[in-house]
């Protein structure tokens, strides 16, 4: 299977094509089988490929399938590769993707455009697999843009709803800004290395052989890395390009789970981790990544505190967790970042799917203020969502505890930009952990506990079908055990297996010194993180269950802060005023009315009018009256004779021409 790696992405593409072309008239059952079958097969193929990869014991499997672009000595091929990082990504994408496909068959059962939904979803799987399997930046960019396209199509799935189609466009346009940076980054890399193959670039990456002008604080690499990070910011919804992700919740919930939580938005982290060798040589870029990630984590978490739409809370939570991952990458703990990526894929997908199950049970209601007391009625959804909440809040032994713990540890020990920067990042990360625990338990308490705040006569709360519950349970199990791969060393039998697993990929780029510190430090940090998470949860418990009247009072007493948070720091309004309005003005008044209407249309229409006018004038010579033609013949003959006889030298010329 390793030799036929292309089959893994091809299967979802086939599924997408079959469903998209022929699915319109098929019953849901057949569309299901095609969609689930293709992704399931892809998952099995991926498993088999991974097995073969480990059996062969190679560090990196790389195969060129065909040349896509060849120009002079530049080559961009359809080359796929597999190493430990790819293994993690491929298994997460196909595995979680498959579960979400199954869930979606239940969730979307009553929707129109069922085949269209699954066609897009499979298309997304195809591009995402291209993205993670690609062996050069160009092919990666194909997947990168492709997942953007699929994301756009799926956010705007309910395209008759204006807010949904607007959200789709917003996602697309904001991503374009990031992609612009990504492409410039690629161009810089090409100028520096004359190739865009991962291996070729990274192979020349020993510190000694590295050209001096490339690395360093303001070398080419710093700019290339910053530009690539700009692309990552767009795709992974970091400051200042995060604005599209909360709006992307307009899409169906399985889409939010798959694309906007588990897989696509982690593409930015993947790219940064994939380019870790470049980043390791660009300390300034690393610092920027860490600071942006940390700031985003905190910033998004604060907005998440006050949102009332269940999916929006999760969206801001996703932005915040992605910030954590960038924080990890920025402090050189790439394996911790990828580890959090994996556990996050489990528990955040679970959170979204469970939220979808809640919405399903409530008949489409998304406002948490109109829920409450659901825990008895939808027991399984409640239990699975609680599991995911414990995981994301960082309670041991759930998955999130281990990954968040290792990120915070790495931030604490960070060497980039000095010790104090590391402590500041750690402090902000810890504060984010507190906020995370608070808003997640707020969500749980508002949704599942307390008194019902919905109209019990009209809303018939019902548990979701098994096709939706089964993926929830599998993901719940993964959210618990998913972190045990990387049990930290202070636990009995704990060796950071995950970091060791990724060692062949990240190797020297990982921040040194992680081993040097005593395990007691790690233990203390873990205890602090746990205490913080517990504090956040207890505060949410006190505020929303014990003394619910206090919540409003608190909001009142902190009125300005509360309003600012509720309005998401007015970021959308700020962007509208600073970017969108001027752009629209220029587009309308300069590009549209001057350049397009007056310039281009004017030129085209002017030529047309001119031609018509000339034709109208000349038309009268062709009267159709034979004798008027005869007059012209005579006039012509007379002119020729006149030229021959009276034009100086003309006669000779004309006669010469005749001869």
């Amino acid at each position: 299977m390793l030799e036929y790696l292309w089959i893994i992405p091809l299967l979802p593409l086939l599924g997408s094509a079959v469903n998209g072309l022929f699915g319109a008239k098929w019953p849901n059952r057949i569309v299901n089988s095609v969609a689930i079958g293709s992704t399931g097969l892809s998952f099995l193929c991926a498993l088999e490929a991974v097995r073969e990869f480990f059996e062969s014991g190679q560090v990196l499997f790389h195969k060129e399938f065909f040349t896509w672009i060849a120009a002079a000595n530049f080559r961009a091929g359809f080359d796929l590769q597999m190493d430990q990082l790819t293994v993690v990504m491929v298994l997460v994408v196909t595995g979680v993707g498959w579960l979400i496909h199954i869930y979606a068959t239940g969730y979307m059962a009553h929707e129109r455009g069922y085949y269209r939904f699954f066609s897009y979803l499979n298309l997304f799987m195809f591009f995402m697999l291209i993205l993670v399997l690609a062996a050069n930046y160009v092919l990666l960019f194909v997947g990168w843009e492709g997942v953007g396209l699929a994301s756009y199509l799926l956010i705007g799935f309910y395209f008759l709803k204006k807010s949904a189609s607007d959200a789709g466009k917003k996602a697309f346009i904001v991503n374009r800004i990031g992609d612009f940076g990504f492409m410039l980054g690629m161009f810089l890399l090409f100028r520096a290395f004359h190739t865009l193959d991962f291996q070729a670039i990274f192979a020349s990456s020993t510190l000694e052989g590295w050209p001096a002008e490339l690395s360093g604080h303001l070398g080419t690499l710093t700019f290339a890395c910053l530009l690539i990070f700009m692309g990552a910011c767009g795709k992974s919804a970091q400051l200042p390009l995060y604005v599209w992700l909360p709006d992307a919740m307009e899409g169906p919930t399985p889409v939010s789970a798959l694309i906007h939580a588990a897989t696509m938005v982690t593409a930015g982290i993947y790219v940064v981790a994939r380019s870790h060798i470049l980043f390791a040589h660009a300390p300034t870029a690393m610092l920027v990544v860490a600071v942006v990630g940390c700031a985003t984590a905190f910033f998004a978490a604060t907005i998440g505190l006050v949102q009332t739409d269940i999916k929006r809370v999760l969206a801001y939570s996703t932005v915040s967790q992605l910030g954590y991952m960038f924080l990890a990458c920025g402090v050189g703990a790439f394996s911790a970042g990828i580890f959090h990526l994996m556990t996050h894929a489990f528990f955040k997908a679970l959170l979204f799917l469970a939220a979808g199950s809640v919405i399903h049970a409530m008949g489409g209601e998304q406002d948490m203020n109109r829920m409450g007391g659901l825990s008895k009625k939808i027991r399984w959804t409640y239990l699975t969502m609680l599991t995911a909440t414990l995981a994301i809040a960082g309670f041991p032994p759930f998955a999130g505890f281990f990954s968040k713990d290792s990120i915070l540890l790495s931030a604490f020990q960070s060497q980039y930009g000095g010790r104090n920067v590391g402590y500041a990042l750690y402090g902000l990360g810890l504060a984010t952990a507190l906020l995370t625990a608070f808003y997640m338990f707020r969500l749980i308490f508002l949704t599942f506990h307390g008194k019902p705040r919905y109209d019990e006569h009209h809303v018939h709360v019902h548990e979701s079908p098994n096709s939706m519950l089964a993926p929830l349970m599998i993901l719940a199990v993964l959210s618990i055990v998913g972190g045990w791969f990387a049990a930290p060393a202070f636990l009995p039998g704990g060796t950071d297996y995950f970091a060791r697993f990724l060692q062949p990929v990240f190797g020297g780029a990982e921040a040194a010194g992680a081993e040097a510190e005593a395990h007691s430090l790690e233990l203390w940090l873990a205890v602090i993180a746990f205490a913080i998470a517990l504090a956040g949860a207890l505060f949410a418990y006190w505020l929303y269950l014990k003394r619910p009247e206090k919540a409003d009072g608190l909001a009142k007493s902190l009125e300005p802060a509360y309003t600012t948070l509720l309005n998401k720091y007015y970021m959308d309004e700020l962007y509208a005023a600073v970017v969108v309005k001027p752009l629209l003005w220029i587009s309308t008044n300069v590009l549209w009315k001057v350049a397009d209407v007056a310039g281009i249309d004017g030129a085209v229409n002017g030529i047309a009018h001119g031609t018509t006018a000339i034709g109208d004038g000349v038309r009268h010579t062709q009267s159709g009256n034979t004798r008027s033609y005869a007059v012209w013949v005579v006039v012509g003959a007379l002119v020729v004779i006149a030229v021959i006889f009276f034009w100086p030298f003309g006669g000779k010329t004309v006669i010469g021409m005749v001869r």
Binding site: G624, N625, R627
Partner: protein, 100 residues
């Protein structure tokens, strides 16, 4: 012996008359006759030059022109008869179905 100039001038005058009649006359038969007049004006010039230069080329051309004129007269008269039958008129101003 009459000088060649005289023939050429006569020929030019006849040709001019033919052109004038062709352009300004309305009766289709008159137009037809003016064409014949122009052809014969040219014939006269040919013969005059042939005589003046002592070469027979011009006279050969004249014979060709007469043959073509005869053929043309046959075809042209046929067309005129058809027009007269179909349109009950010989006025070219009214034979204008192809006009804009």
């Amino acid at each position: 012996m009459v000088p060649t100039n005289y023939y050429v001038v006569l020929s030019a005058v006849l040709f001019g008359l033919g052109v004038f009649a062709f352009i300004f006359k309305r009766n289709i038969i008159t137009i037809f006759m003016s064409i014949e007049l122009m052809l014969n004006a040219v014939n006269l010039a040919f013969v005059a030059f042939s005589q003046a230069l002592g070469k027979l080329d011009g006279q050969v051309f004249v014979l060709f022109v007469i043959v073509v004129a005869a053929a043309e007269a046959a075809v042209g008269l046929g067309i005129i008869i058809l027009i007269a039958r179909n349109r009950q008129t010989l006025n070219v101003e009214r034979v204008d179905l192809l006009k804009l």
